[in-house]
Symmetry: C2
Subunit: 410 residues, 2 copies
């Protein structure tokens, strides 16, 4: 049985092709590379029914993933995260068919584990021994952990302001961790230099071609979880945008396989913070690529990306699906963390909260129509972001008792 139907790598800009048997980074023209599969063979050999008895993780789609020898699979059980009907939040927002795909229920509590699982597995397959990457925290944590299992040495550089727990994950995994007094772009420059100085594999966002294949599985799962009928709208908190590009790629591949109808694509929405909204600006100005954002800052640290290497792919995916790009401010993001927890009991990350806030706004604008099926990607667990919640609880001594104010009992 063929484990992977991977064919080759191709450049979406200049159409050059590359082999998947060797280490690859960017195209010589500077563009990220994408993975192509033998779709005709797949079409005759792979059916929806094949999935029924497989374990609920992203490797259930191995035919559509680039890892060729199962032995190279590095896994912590990632994937097939819940698709939750957010009844109470949906009622408040007048979106009765509001769903959340909860990427908090994944190793290291962040959807970055999808890209890490597939990226590290393929790195192992092509013989990478040492890699480096800049990160806003969660990707570095995930890659460190998967690299530990794969016995690949990792060098991670993250901003000082990145979520503190992600440092701990890197160190626990034995990564070589550096903090930088700057943003992810500054971390990227330091990594670029280290890659040259120490001959490391560069695992920066989209500088290796396989992370996107891991992220793609979110799109495959959304389709499978809705029984191969895609929703109307998908909202995705967008920093580097790999997930959005991946979901788009997944849906196109499913159309090619004939597993979902050709006619209908979900409208993809890139959600950013008003403190860092380069994609939204480019979208509003009708451009095909984005300018770097000055003085980027937002509480939703994962989407604090001033310049995305895949900006042109993000803008293309939005345009092709009749989607849009929208920014929300930090106050609305923090409000949404609290209100989703109180309404539906889900403690989401600020990036996920941004996507909920955007859904609310797009419904008010009637961009989201009455009765449409809407999926919000919550890209990580709220527990990785303790600073989004203030605690002011009474402290009792052992012999004290609770005295409830009339106002505290709801």
């Amino acid at each position: 049985m063929t484990y992977s139907y991977v064919s080759h790598l191709y450049c979406p800009k200049c159409e050059e092709t590359y082999s998947t048997k060797e280490k690859q980074q960017l195209c010589k023209c500077g563009s990220p590379l994408l993975v192509a599969y033998k779709m005709d063979e797949l079409k005759s050999n792979f059916t929806k029914e094949d999935l029924l008895k497989r374990t609920p993780d992203l490797w259930r789609y191995h035919e559509l993933l680039p890892v060729e020898d199962q032995e190279n699979k590095v896994t912590l059980g990632e994937g097939m995260t819940p698709m939750l009907h957010m009844k109470n939040s949906g009622k408040e927002m007048d979106i009765p068919n509001l769903y959340m795909k909860d990427e908090g229920l994944i190793p290291s509590g962040s959807f970055k584990s999808r890209g890490a699982a597939v990226g590290v597995s393929k790195a192992k397959e092509v013989g990478v021994k040492e890699l480096a990457m800049p990160t806003n925290g969660n990707a570095g944590a995930a890659w460190s952990l998967y690299c530990a299992q794969a016995e690949i040495t990792s060098t991670i550089v993250m901003p000082l302001d990145a979520p503190e727990i992600t440092r701990k994950e890197c160190v626990a995994a034995g990564a070589d961790l550096y903090l930088v007094n700057g943003l992810i772009g500054d971390a990227g420059k330091i990594v670029g230099q280290a890659v040259k100085d120490y001959n490391l594999f560069d695992a920066s966002t989209l500088k290796e071609p396989y992370r996107i294949e891991g992220k793609k599985t979110m799109g495959l799962e959304i389709a499978e979880q809705f029984n191969w009928e895609v929703p109307d709208v998908i909202l995705y908190p967008t920093g580097g945008g790999v997930g959005l590009i991946g979901i788009y790629k997944a849906l196109r591949e499913l159309q090619e396989l004939g597993w979902i109808p050709e006619g209908k694509m979900p409208r993809l929405v890139a959600v950013q913070s008003e403190g860092c909204a380069p994609i939204v600006k480019a979208w509003e100005e009708g451009k095909t690529s984005a300018e770097p954002w000055e003085n980027a800052e937002t509480v939703a640290f994962g989407i604090n990306v001033a310049k995305a290497l895949g900006d042109f792919l993000i803008l293309d995916a939005i345009r092709e699906t009749d989607g849009c790009a929208i920014a929300v401010n930090d106050m609305k993001i923090l409000d949404e963390v609290a209100s989703v927890a109180k309404a539906d009991g889900a403690f989401v990350c600020p990036e996920g909260a941004a996507a909920f806030a955007a859904a609310k706004e797009l419904r008010v604008q009637n961009w989201i129509k009455d009765g449409e099926k809407v999926v919000v990607l919550n890209t990580g667990a709220g527990i990785k972001y303790p600073n989004t919640v203030e605690v002011d609880a009474p402290i009792l001594q052992k012999d004290e008792k609770i005295v409830k104010q009339a106002t505290t009992s709801k």
Copy 2:
């Protein structure tokens, strides 16, 4: 179609029975109550094949759960957590068939969500509007969140030393949170008083009968994940012990259904910390119940329970399965957090690490035999316990570069 085959509640001490249609707490004799099912009906109406097309969460076993009307289901997508082959750790420990069931991949990052999902759903079903509970942190966080979705008011009391993130979860969910300068037993006394003063439902461990049914699903999943062939040994970090009691109950029910063979039970191991080991002491002394542990203290806060209400059930489950009880010290627990992360890339909680340390010790003693299949329960995500890892990373300025020491590159 019958959603639940629940029959009634019974007392494992005095055999009194109670209805599942009304709110119930302890038996009038003071013992916890257990749930009985209509096993004969189930046997003819429920097959393994029924599970194939169901979503990968604990509600796939709804026939064996106490919630009778599907409408009362309160869910965040909990259950069917990964069963991971820990190849590298297993090699180091000389347990090649070492598996981890990773309960970090669950809402709120703790296995407490299983008990909360089923407990809160059933509370909703019988008309509970306000409940209270003492907690070492994670259970309170989980119950707060599920209660939010169910629109049940929750009053949570936890020790000041409980993991700080769990306070945040309670507050985010809108719970009425109190901190106590003491241990969970002190929190329990305060809750007991509040239950009387304010007429609250008491959701303390085993004082309501349904949490255990949620925890039971770990046992059902272990059996299903090994294709209905049970492993040789299951190690469980034991505080209140509900999970261990639940796993035992699940396996007995599966035997009754004929889904697993009658002859073979996994040997159940209760793992405690040397700083709080009442069950281990009772086990070593051949007793059927445990004395309260004085000055309980351990880094594995979730198992810092000086007196478990279900001690007699824990000891019974160990005895009936030819299992054992074992304590490990805090230094070994912290070492194991680091070594599991470095070997297999899994960042486990200290309670889970205790179970790994116990497996290692039991293999050295040859209590775990050559080639046996061993399952360790990692009861929560390491990211909830940032204090288990020390970070000492270099801080770079934007224009600096990485200077690797010969010794830092592995």
